[in-house]
């Protein structure tokens, strides 16, 4: 894949040289950057041979997403509307990808120490950076649009597909411009560390938006309305970038060159090319300059983030109340603080909380469709489903609490005179339950009490205990690693996927057991002390774990 990309770029060697770029250095930088991207997330012990091809895997995933987009618009009769949807999707996906996935690559301050002291002229440096981004974005946008190209060929022929590809290229350029502006704006406002924090929240937001869109859109949009809809062209349509490209395609496929259509073509051609010029001339050098200052500023003493005095804090009181030993208490307090600051943890665990609300919103949207449906919903025990959705978030936090940005710093656990490491794990589980799971329980439980009234109370109490039991048990069963002690590797993904499935199965079993108990008179009430017994046993097992049972 890398060699193929390099071969294509080599075709433009003359052009680059004429632009004052040192082509040899350019190729050299690109090759290294692509090689590194291809190895991101792979095992540290891996030898030179790459064990997977990240780029190809990504292409495949985006091609599938492209097919899904195509399925959505394939039946839209109005050409302009269909292509506006396609270009909107492509541009939004590219922008989101740039911000969420590519930030690590883009804001790589190692370049300051490695590339800046080398004899590389600014044109070569700028072009290398731009091409590196462009390769990714084009690879992404082309993967996304493969299905649309096939669709365009089938409906309008090869020439239209060719124009479509040109428009995809131009829309990608324009999105690159917009995201560059976004980054520069952010870099003006915040320093390096804060920027990384913001990126993490973007990634979380993006994951939730995708899940939400996937679940909600088909339910909210009446598909027939979309298929028959015709976007009216108003004055403001000319301000919406996806419609420039859609308008151009419409003009070229229908051969209607009205004033409006010509304006679309002009906007689609001029604005992206103008933005490319602005990027090369102004934005990219500015970006590099800000980047070069970023770690210099970061190394200077900045404003120190002060955390509240811990003496009377809520977490302190909870730690006193929920833990039995000093080790368990220390572990509880440490996890409480660290889990809110570890980026990798937040990035992987927090989207699950968004999903829980999305799933509940979807069910409610369906339920509130009409009065009959609402009556049916309130007469049912559907709230059990809501309350056990919490397990989705609970498992996410517990599964990810073992991973860290700095796994090596977990050395201190084993250096401490701790005879019962199980206390560290039980403190960890209690902290994540108290900090993340119980607040979610309170919100969802409150909603349930509001809609279903006090009759749901025994079920809520039973579910509270059973969530603790299953979360603690499953967490320890899936991995007995200490908190924040492991590096996340892409090889773990498959393993974690299977674990995730097993966790979900256990959630379904515990939910069904609860549902079954509701059919037995006083079943749920009798079940509460039994579950408390299980909870006691589960924590006794965890606290009794020995060092040799802990996975390093």
């Amino acid at each position: 894949m890398i060699n193929f990309i390099i071969r294509i770029i080599r075709l433009f060697k003359g052009l680059f040289t004429a632009m004052g770029v040192d082509y040899h250095q350019l190729e050299c930088i690109l090759k290294i950057k692509l090689t590194m991207d291809n190895r991101r997330g792979l095992s540290t012990s891996a030898k030179k041979k790459d064990s997977s091809n990240q780029l190809l895997i990504q292409s495949f995933i985006y091609a599938v997403i492209g097919i899904l987009i195509m399925v959505l618009v394939a039946y839209v009769e109005h050409t302009f509307t269909a292509y506006t949807v396609i270009f909107s999707m492509i541009m939004v996906m590219i922008a989101m990808f740039m911000i969420s996935e590519f930030s690590v690559v883009l804001i790589d301050t190692r370049d300051n120490a490695i590339l800046l002291p080398r004899p590389i002229n600014s044109r070569t440096m700028t072009m290398a950076k731009l091409l590196h981004i462009a390769i990714y974005l084009l690879h992404l946008s082309l993967s996304l649009s493969i299905a649309s190209v096939v669709f365009t060929v089938m409906i309008y022929g090869y020439m239209a597909a060719f124009f479509f590809l040109i428009m995809v290229f131009l829309s990608t350029l324009f999105t690159l411009f917009l995201t560059n502006l976004f980054y520069l704006g952010l870099m003006r406002l915040v320093n390096g560390e804060k920027l990384k924090d913001i990126m993490v929240y973007f990634q979380i937001g993006m994951a939730i938006i995708f899940m939400g869109a996937y679940q909600l859109l088909p339910r909210l949009i009446e598909m027939n309305d979309l298929y028959n809809s015709q976007m009216q062209i108003e004055w403001y349509t000319y301000l919406i970038p996806p419609s420039w490209f859609a308008g151009s395609i419409t003009a070229l496929t229908t051969s209607v060159y009205s004033v409006g259509n010509v304006l679309f073509i002009l906007l689609a051609l001029i604005v992206p090319l103008l933005s490319l010029w602005i990027i090369i001339k102004y934005l990219s050098p500015k970006f590099s300059k800000r980047l070069s200052q970023m770690d210099a500023v970061a190394s200077k003493p900045a404003k120190i983030k002060k955390h509240k005095s811990s003496r009377f804090r809520y977490s302190e009181k909870l730690a006193q109340f929920l833990t039995q030993s000093a080790v368990e208490r220390t572990s509880f307090k440490m996890i409480w603080k660290m889990s809110g600051r570890e980026r990798k943890f937040k990035q992987t665990a927090f989207p699950a909380f968004g999903y829980v609300f999305v799933i509940i919103a979807v069910t409610l949207v369906r339920g509130f469709g009409d009065e009959d449906q609402l009556a049916n919903l309130l007469a049912s025990k559907r709230y059990l489903l809501f309350i056990y959705f919490i397990l989705f978030a609970a498992f996410a936090v517990c599964m990810n609490i073992i991973y860290s940005d700095e796994p090596k710093s977990s050395w201190f656990f084993s250096s401490m005179p701790v005879s019962k490491p199980g206390d560290i794990l039980s403190g960890t589980i209690k902290a994540v339950l108290a900090k993340y799971v119980w607040p979610l329980y309170v919100i969802i439980g409150g909603l349930i009490l509001y809609f279903w009234s006090y009759q749901a109370l025994p079920d809520l109490l039973y579910a509270f205990v059973s969530i603790i039991v299953i979360t603690s048990f499953v967490t320890v069963m899936q991995s007995k690693a200490l908190p924040f002690s492991k590096e996340r590797l892409s090889q773990d993904s498959g393993d974690n996927f299977i674990k995730g499935i097993l966790m979900m199965v256990s959630a379904v079993i515990i939910g069904l057991t609860h549902w079954g108990l509701t059919y037995i008179p006083y079943g749920v009430i009798v079940g509460i002390p039994i579950m408390l017994g299980f909870q006691y046993l589960s924590f006794r097992y965890i606290k009794g774990l020995k060092w040799k049972q802990i996975t390093s």
Binding site: P117, R118, I120, Q293, A296
Partner: protein, 263 residues
């Protein structure tokens, strides 16, 4: 500028903006450095050492003042200068998903070296630094010392005239430290200039021909160890450093720390 002056710094100012406030880091530094010298550039944390090195290596470009390196203006001839300097940074800044061979090949190519020359030097230098068995392993599994060795090789591979080093010996084992010190002394004999920024006083004391002490963005002392020591009674550089930077009372602080443990 005299003929053998390789670095000339006049009235160098630099400030960092943080939270909208400009914080001056260098406040008018003037230096003349001649070829073949080993310069020990010392100072407390935040004194402006790394900033000076980063400016001289062309990493930071927005500074005030005039800098000439190898008789060329740093602002206008930076590419030509960068071909003839080597930089060994403070932190192990490497593309660590690469192997040492891949990384050094990359650096060699960027420095404009001949392919054959790169390969020969990689093999020889990795062998001399006892890194040959790890040549094809990814560096993300390396210890700090191993990474530091690769950084040192990458700063020297193209045979630069001036070598800028920012804490180059951190993480190295005793044998490697001795080797690097000898290499630096040998390179200086061959006419290369070494700009050595460090906190480790005894190394600076032993290898430097000239010591420049910077504190709070201003040069406080400049001269050979003997010159700096002329008014004192054969004091160590560590003690001189303490005196010149106005930090005394280290013994009292140490005693207080012990008291905290014991009470």
């Amino acid at each position: 500028m005299e003929s053998n002056t390789v670095i000339s710094i006049k009235n160098l100012h630099k400030s960092y903006k943080n939270g909208g406030v400009a914080k001056p880091v260098l406040k008018g530094v003037d230096l003349e450095i001649k070829s073949g010298q080993i310069i020990g550039y010392i100072g407390p944390n935040g004194a402006g050492k790394s900033t000076t090195v980063k400016i001289l290596c062309g990493i930071l470009s927005d500074f005030e003042g005039d800098i000439k390196v190898l008789n060329m203006d740093l602002r206008t001839d930076d590419i030509a200068i960068k071909k003839r300097i080597g930089y060994i940074p403070e932190n192990a800044a490497l593309y660590d998903t690469l192997t040492p061979s891949e990384y050094l090949q990359f650096v060699g190519e960027l420095q404009g070296m001949e392919e054959g020359d790169i390969q020969t030097k990689i093999v020889k230098l990795l062998d001399l630094f006892e890194m040959k068995p790890h040549a094809e392993e990814r560096m993300n599994s390396f210890s700090k010392g191993m990474k530091q060795k690769i950084l040192i090789i990458s700063g020297l591979i193209h045979n630069p005239d001036i070598i800028f080093m920012d804490e180059p010996l951190s993480g190295l084992d005793a044998n490697a430290v001795i080797i690097v010190k000898r290499v630096l002394q040998q390179l200086a004999k061959e006419g290369k200039t070494i700009f050595y920024s460090s906190h480790i006083m005894d190394v600076v004391e032993k290898i430097s021909d000239r010591i420049i002490l910077i504190d709070n963005g201003v040069v406080l002392a400049d001269g050979s160890y003997d010159e700096l020591n002329s008014d004192s009674n054969n004091e160590s550089l560590e003690n001189l450093f303490t005196k010149l930077t106005g930090n005394s009372g280290h013994n009292e602080t140490a005693n207080e720390i012990i008291n905290v443990f014991e009470n």
